[in-house]
């Protein structure tokens, strides 16, 4: 497996970004929703600190990923109807936007509440905006609903990937799987149906 993407599969770095961010943002989102299960205020403080640290990591990875995507390019799109190609592009654009917007909205929410923002107890980051109690509820809503929106977009993303894998028998999912090998291209092997 090469580090860079090739014409028939995503490279190791693109795959690492994809799966690390997927795991981190979903895990952290569910963790964020379960925050109220903490059994003491101090545990909630520590959970929130962990949630923020993971979120900042996602933000950093997302920005690096966008840079890498710009430098690395991508495997060409598989043949599909035009509407499917455009839908895929729209879904991908939303996903890229959300993996930046969700952690950023958390940072904004944190700034509005006036709380410290520390990355795994190593260093602190500044507030994006001054403390503003009137925005607290709204900022929390934005942060949470962006995650629900991500889940909605993921239904399309995961659904389409599985549809390609299971019904179309193409390489759309295989070429992004960590250890996936692309199926031989149909035109080198003849008709596979």
């Amino acid at each position: 497996m090469t580090l860079r993407s090739t014409t028939d599969r995503w490279g190791a770095i693109a795959k690492a970004f994809h799966w690390t961010i997927a795991l981190a943002i979903l895990g952290n989102g569910v963790f964020g929703l379960l925050m109220d299960l903490s059994h003491s205020p101090m545990q909630k403080i520590n959970w929130l600190a962990l949630h923020k640290s993971i979120g900042l990591t996602v933000l950093a990875l997302a920005l690096l990923r966008l840079l890498w995507r710009w430098f690395d390019g991508r495997p060409p799109e598989e043949p599909a109807p035009r509407w499917q190609q455009w839908s895929a592009r729209a879904v991908h654009a939303f996903l890229y936007a959300l993996i930046v917007a969700i952690p950023l909205s958390g940072w904004w929410f944190n700034s509005v509440t006036g709380k410290p923002l520390q990355w795994f107890k190593q260093f602190n980051l500044p507030a994006l905006v001054p403390k503003d109690d009137t925005l607290r509820h709204f900022a929390h809503g934005v942060h949470e609903y962006l995650f629900w929106f991500l889940l909605l977009v993921l239904v399309a993303h995961v659904g389409a990937a599985l549809k390609h894998h299971v019904f179309d028998n193409d390489n759309v999912l295989r070429r992004m799987l960590p250890f996936g090998r692309p199926r031989p291209l149909p035109d080198t092997e003849g008709d596979r149906r």
Binding site: S40, P41, M42, Q43, I45, N46, A49, G114, K115, P116, L117, Q118, K121, F123, N124, D133
Partner: protein, 186 residues
């Protein structure tokens, strides 16, 4: 706290030897005075202050032997600019104002370290009494004086934020106490 015997002695000395330094009793001007502190939470310094406190100050830089500070702080008057923190501090995990409504600092003696005057005293907080020392800066003025003190209190010495809150990687161990007092002579 009044010390009638000491005051009388000072008064007698002053009468017997006019011009001899004698420690003066001062009244604190609350509107122009502030008792504050700063701690740290998740790597960030925060500042707080107490709105309600009283201080009896007797001081003369030339007569440290007769100087005395006696300060009582109403702990429930704490403000730090964060509603979560301000609702937690009076609770049983921190100041526990239901059991210990006030903190009390009284000096046991004054000394000089070079040019710096240091007030040694005892702080009683949350039912625990421990020695605490404060750096003292006294500035005589036309109508009285200003007095600035600062020192460090180790919160865990007094059980402020014990249990789960004892984690000093989240809540700093040291709390810096600073006070600025505007004084008028009695």
């Amino acid at each position: 706290m009044k010390r009638p015997v000491l005051s009388s002695v000072a008064l007698l000395l002053a009468l017997a030897f006019p011009g001899l330094a004698a420690a003066t009793d001062y009244t604190v001007q609350p509107a122009a005075s502030k008792l504050g502190f700063s701690g740290s939470f998740q790597g960030e310094t925060f500042n707080g202050n107490f709105d309600t406190w009283t201080a009896a100050i007797r001081y003369d830089p030339a007569d440290l032997a007769h100087a005395a500070f006696d300060v009582t702080v109403t702990l429930a008057s704490v403000k730090t600019g964060d509603s979560d923190r301000d609702s937690a501090l009076p609770g049983s995990d921190f100041f526990d104002v239901a059991k210990f409504p006030t903190a009390h600092f009284v000096t046991t003696g004054f000394r000089r370290n070079g040019a710096q005057v240091i007030a040694d005293g005892k702080l009683t907080l949350r039912g625990v009494t421990k020695p605490v020392s404060l750096d003292v800066t006294f500035q005589p003025a036309a109508q009285g004086a200003t007095l600035d003190v600062d020192g460090v209190v180790h919160r865990l010495d007094f059980g402020v934020g014990g249990g789960e809150y004892a984690d000093t990687s989240v809540i700093g161990a040291d709390v810096k106490v600073t006070a600025h007092l505007q004084l008028t002579a009695k």
